[in-house]
Symmetry: C2
């Protein structure tokens, strides 16, 4: 027997309709790519998104078509997203730091029809434009005055939009229709596309707005430093208009001073970014002695934050530090390290220990850890296993790939290795492919790296598992010394001794000038493994 | 083109699965109907709900069957709900204050198969049992020792449950399948059943857990005084387990002392009830001089709260007073009076003026006011019109009635008359059927009543529109004097003069011993209109 409630679909345009009607005057502040701060409102976003949708329809865009964006977090990028969804099309975010061949592959694979691009990234497009197979039009998110010279046929967004008013009815879509597309930069094989639905975007945004996640309120001002091309800006492009919160968009500038300026002048209460952004901010604050009187919560994801970063925010600046974890395939949010009942009164150092973990799942995300046979492992904070997830905002397959990525019970393998403690707090210990299998036991490459990088003469450390006759694999430590410093193996081993289990100690250390990074700024262990393919441990004869 | 996200249904059992897995040790405290405080956990609710589901299947209950509950807010009532949904059946809540003939009508109309009932209400059932057409079994929510003598064949819940363990797989349902059934006590015609779906219950609970609604956290302790039979206890039966919050269930005792005792001993942070409950609590606090150190938010709905109540909570007890509005047809939440940006710093009296309003819609609820022709009226805080709503947790039809209750665009007429201000804050001014149409303009009967009841000699006041040759209708004021007092028309008119528009002044006043109330404790204007059907205004010759 069916219930008798209304068939009100969970579609993205409903968020913007709500925002315009109930919070129309709420500000949206953008550091424009051209330079000056631009102030608009949610009503403006609505009106301009309608015009974008109308213009796209005039371009011949049909429901389901993919429209690419390569852009910073700005008002224009936001209204383009809603406009794209508003004509039934799919926004496809491009990471401008992708390697050229990946970018070409992705755009051709997605069959992008139109590209919205910021002036900053025109050279990226110019370099590979001739290889695009489906792209019909490039619209630059600026006005005529700021449109750069180019051999390409570029259209200035503001002029393109000028011909259209906002008298437009959103194209009706089903809530299960595709809304967004984002490719993961896989370390092996071609990038794979995650195809978000309207429903998954809405449920994910409601999940993020729960009191125990970010709990966004209309009185909040949010600064999403995390880019919209980085897995939906962690839902903030939907969560903020949903709550009527002020959005503060950082544009192209993420250095400490620029971010501080916005945090302070716009009285930002919640902000979110990867650790490297917060490192720059902390350095700026220390240099200038400035404080963060308005900021309540800083959310960190993308990679694990180091202990000192959490301590500085919590102890020196009285800002709640909130570790999160997720992945493109999860829309992206999986866990947040929000304290439970009984933990509020923890002594600060114990609290920071707990805050180092990636956290617990909010409602709609399910997680478990399993061993190699798929058997669920206990939640004891010790057992580590492959992290499996399930939920309405988790992918079941990649775009145009037939192979499902979930098992018979709907679980997706995250490719991460983690433990979960008795309170349900998860901590990533490694990527499954990076974990070192030594004599049947697992060594976390990340844990060893985090300890090694604490050596006073080391600026960067990577650990990879290398073949070993007796133990199958053993850890090889690769370090970059601080500028002007040098580091020798004996000093490092002495430093590590006592800080980890004996059998976790690297069998050797190599010094290099630099460690390769991938497009998202993480250490590319794949490249490292190739680079050191011929290496043999001295003790492995 | 469809998205490629997981088909994870929004079903009620997913909430309990999440609660047991992620917040299993979180407490549930019940003032048992038998007397003592009982302490269990969310894991216990899960385990016992599994047993309820297994036992119901053994009783032959099939998916879609209606299972009635007539019970206070207790752990047993909660686990019964989840157990009913867990075997695919529909929980049907009965208001024990229903008139006998309504109760019989409702249970026969719903075709209830099994009834879970508290010992308190056995006499209610005994009185009309012979008229039930479909009821097969009565299970009393107690144990053998506390089972009362009765001519009926009663089963003690604990004994009935004892034969079943918790090894049971929830019966799979579709998210659009019915989950709950609640009849509205209409003032005309038979009661009508609102049939909630799993999906509507989940979306509604997520809506309530948004930061700007109740924003429930795992560190919160919630006391739902509002009964589970009163429109889903305002979502709290789902929202609290979803967030892992502690639930404090008041059982049968809602007097000031009993509620205070739980608020204090269980360190309740959020509570919700109709105004009459808070009146009793305030009286108790004033008598004893006690304070509310743990309480952060008191939510009020069901009927409008008077100004002095808001003032006392906010000024004397430093508790956030949160007006809400909704209806059974809305799951029930429609609006909450949560401040927006810019209002936090309002001067306290202006803030309280604003808090008198029913508030603004959170995401997923849409509202508008329209005139008699259906034209939308401005949001200027002045124009009043019929309040129309739309959303995924709003009904589209009543159970077994073919007539849709929504228009072609999906809007449901609430039957309320309201204004909406520029900030989107709605204020109910009357029920549409009670509004007085005088010379083409509307007079709010509620506004006149609220002023009249302020007369020092009056304990209760009702205003109804009576026919008037010149003005079509004019207000007739009916009052009950305070015990030992009397009130004359001239004194009242003098009191009212200057407190309302001249043309709102009642044309006459009658003194009565009592004013009839309906099952939900509201003034029954229908009965009043019948009672005074022959009345003629002295000035209307």
């Amino acid at each position: 027997m069916k219930g008798l409630m209304q068939d009100w679909p969970l579609v993205v345009t409903n968020v913007l309709d709500h925002a315009a009607r109930e919070h129309g005057e709420r500000e949206l502040v953008t550091r424009s790519v051209e330079g000056p701060i631009r102030r608009t409102t949610l009503k403006d976003v609505y009106s301009r998104a309608k015009r974008v949708a109308k213009a796209l329809v005039a371009e011949g865009v049909k429901p389901g078509d993919r429209i690419a964006t390569m852009a910073w977090n700005t008002d224009r990028h936001l209204e383009a997203w809603y406009g794209i969804n508003g004509c039934g099309a799919v926004y496809h975010t491009l990471n401008p730091r992708l390697f050229a061949e990946q970018l070409v592959y992705i755009m051709n694979h997605a069959e992008d029809k139109i590209l919205f691009v910021d002036i900053t990234f025109i050279p990226v497009i110019e370099a590979v434009y001739s290889q695009f197979e489906t792209l019909e039009k490039i619209i630059v998110l600026t006005d005529k005055e700021n449109l750069p010279e180019s051999a390409l046929n570029l259209f200035a967004y503001e002029d393109w939009l000028a011909a259209f008013d906002d008298n437009f009815d959103w194209v009706k879509v089903d809530e299960n229709d595709a809304s967004g597309l984002c490719y993961t930069s896989g370390t092996t094989g071609n990038p794979k596309g995650v195809l978000y639905s309207h429903r998954s975007n809405i449920i994910h945004a409601l999940m993020v707005n729960q009191g125990d996640v970010l709990g966004v309120k209309s009185t909040d001002a949010l600064l999403p430093v995390v880019p919209m091309f980085h897995a939906n800006a962690w839902a903030l492009a939907f969560s903020c208009p949903m709550a009527g919160a002020k959005m503060v968009m950082p544009g192209a500038k993420m250095d400490g001073e620029s971010i501080y300026e916005l945090l302070d002048s716009e009285q930002v209460s919640i902000t979110a970014a990867v650790p490297s952004v917060w490192l720059m901010l902390l350095q700026y604050l220390e240099k200038t002695g400035k404080k963060l009187p308005y900021l309540k919560t800083v959310m960190v994801g993308g990679s694990a934050a180091p202990r000192y970063m959490i301590e500085k925010f919590e102890k020196n600046y009285d800002v709640e530090f909130l570790h999160g974890w997720g992945m493109t395939e999860m829309s992206p949010l999986g866990t947040v390290c929000k304290f439970k009942h009984g933990m509020q009164d923890m002594e600060i150092d114990a609290a920071i220990d707990q805050k180092l973990k990636q956290g617990r799942v909010p409602f709609t995300v399910e997680m478990k850890i399993v061993d190699d046979t798929g058997k669920e492992l206990p939640r004891d904070g010790v057992a580590t296993g492959r992290l499996m997830v399930r939920g309405p905002a988790v992918a079941k397959a990649y775009y145009k790939l037939d192979t499902p990525i979930i098992d018979a019970d709907g679980w997706m393998d995250t490719g991460d290795v983690a433990n979960i403690d008795e309170l349900g707090f998860m901590q990533i210990t490694d990527r499954a492919k990076d974990v070192i299998k030594s004599g049947g036991e697992w060594i976390s490459s990340i844990d060893v790296e985090n300890i090694a990088v604490g050596h006073p003469d080391v600026s960067m450390a990577a650990v990879i598992g290398m073949p070993h006759k007796r133990w199958e694999e053993r850890p090889l430590l690769i370090v970059v010394p601080n500028e002007g410093s040098s580091v020798i193996k004996e000093s490092m081993m002495e430093f590590l001794d006592g800080k980890m289990a004996k059998w976790w100690m690297p069998n050797d250390m190599l010094v290099v000038d630099s460690i390769p990074l991938n497009a998202t700024g993480k250490i590319s262990k794949l490249t490292l493994r190739k680079q050191f393919a011929d290496y043999k441990f001295p003790d492995d004869i």
